[in-house]
Symmetry: C2
Subunit: 231 residues, 2 copies
DNA sequence: GGTTTGATTGATTGGTTTATCAAACCATGG
DNA sequence: CCATGGTTTGATAAACCAATCAATCAAACC
């Protein structure tokens, strides 16, 4: 069927672009992976670059259902801060199952074709915007638990940076360790923010690095420290 | 002269790889940019991939003199924490003068040729290691101003992640704003760490988000907030 | 002055790439 | 049963790519 072929091409192209990059992926490889002849591809897409744009559009379309919503769904609590670390856990799993080869498909393409491919660049920008906006909303939903003056948009951008930068390092090192270190450090920063908020409010506190306001805490205890079940 | 030609080739290749990526850069373009004929290139480098490795080696060789040492040199104070933000300022300038096209030449290549080019990957990994080790040393030099139990290696990795991730976002957005937001947020985290340290020591403090221990403060005051002169 | 060594040239090769196109195919509706 | 239009085929064009190589040149060395 028509849409089936088109989807197979898109899926194959998305996978190969993510694995080897845009330029390193030949049309022949996409055809082979999709089980299609060249004419079919050029029936649906006017050029390789056009295919790239379609792949990016697909990533954008799938961002919410397959990444953001899933991060929420995987959180055992309704703590919006847990959604954030759930999200980081999704990328970690992607690295894990691919032997540190696949991280964020958009991040890779952003650096390779970012400029000099205007349509793709615009989609990448929107992708990041949606991502950041969702994380910002989660941070906003954490409401008074985070400090008053905190720029939650900037924090969301920083979280995205940590993800992308952590993935770069993990790929280079062929190890999850750098990614985990970045995330762990991010978690510490959050604990500090939460602690600071409690400090501002002069609430009673036992430990400074303690758990988030435990209204619904259902995470597991690990080594005496509360885990937000990011993975 | 011999070395002159070789250097011109390396320089041209490094620039073009950073601008357009490895695969998108043709040998012909390198020859044109270096003002050299193909035979010369293949006299010095056995293949395009060999040239890539040489370019990476060059980046590694220049990391200390042109990036890390310069970050120290540009700091007006001897505060090792200022070195860190000085370093972030170097990358910002690179983005600025190139219209957000050039960030970290190694980060781009890390994602594009990271795997499936073992020699290049190993050099990228070493590059990041040296980078992280230097930042870690700076953090260590900050000594007791940072909290006792802080994993300074992890913080250094996180800083690298913020740089690389901030650059990705800046390139995608064709704007410095995302990079600045990430760095600003990083700065806030540091202020929080310093504040926390002072809190631990039960030292007298006036503001929680105040300046770093002002033994040698020579930065400029901006809007009432202390600036570490990152740029 | 003659020889060796290394550097440089630039036309050329062989392979690969993206993209085209006319012909065949097939489902749907008249 | 045919007509139509979207779909698929696969050979092939045209451009591009990395890489080669015999020939020239320059300098250093004996």
């Amino acid at each position: 069927m028509a849409t089936d072929t088109k989807d197979r091409i898109l899926e194959a192209a998305a996978r190969l672009f993510a694995e080897h990059g845009y330029h390193a992926t030949g049309v022949a490889g996409i055809l082979r992976a999709a089980g299609v002849k060249s004419g079919s591809l050029y029936h649906f897409f006017s050029s390789k670059e056009d295919l790239l744009v379609a792949v990016m559009q697909r990533h954008l379309d799938l961002l919410r259902p397959q990444i953001l919503d899933r991060a929420e769904a995987e959180s055992v609590t309704e703590d919006p801060l847990e959604h954030v670390f759930s999200l980081l856990g999704i990328y970690r799993r992607s690295l894990l199952v691919s032997g540190c080869r696949l991280g964020c498909p958009v991040g890779s393409l952003a650096l390779e074709v970012g400029n000099n491919t205007p349509r793709a660049r615009a989609l990448i920008e929107r992708y990041f915007s949606v991502w950041v906006a969702q994380v910002r909303d989660w941070l906003n939903a954490a409401g008074p638990r985070l400090p008053e003056g905190l720029d939650r948009g900037a924090v969301a951008r920083q979280i995205l940076a940590v993800v992308e930068g952590g993935i770069i390092q993990a790929r280079a090192a062929e190890s999850l360790e750098p990614y985990d270190a970045c995330v762990a450090q991010l978690r510490s920063s959050f604990e500090l923010l939460l602690a600071r908020r409690r400090y501002e409010q002069e609430e009673p506190r036992d430990t400074l690095m303690g758990e988030p306001s435990p209204t619904k805490r259902t995470g597991r205890e690990v080594g005496g420290q509360f885990e937000w079940r990011a993975w």
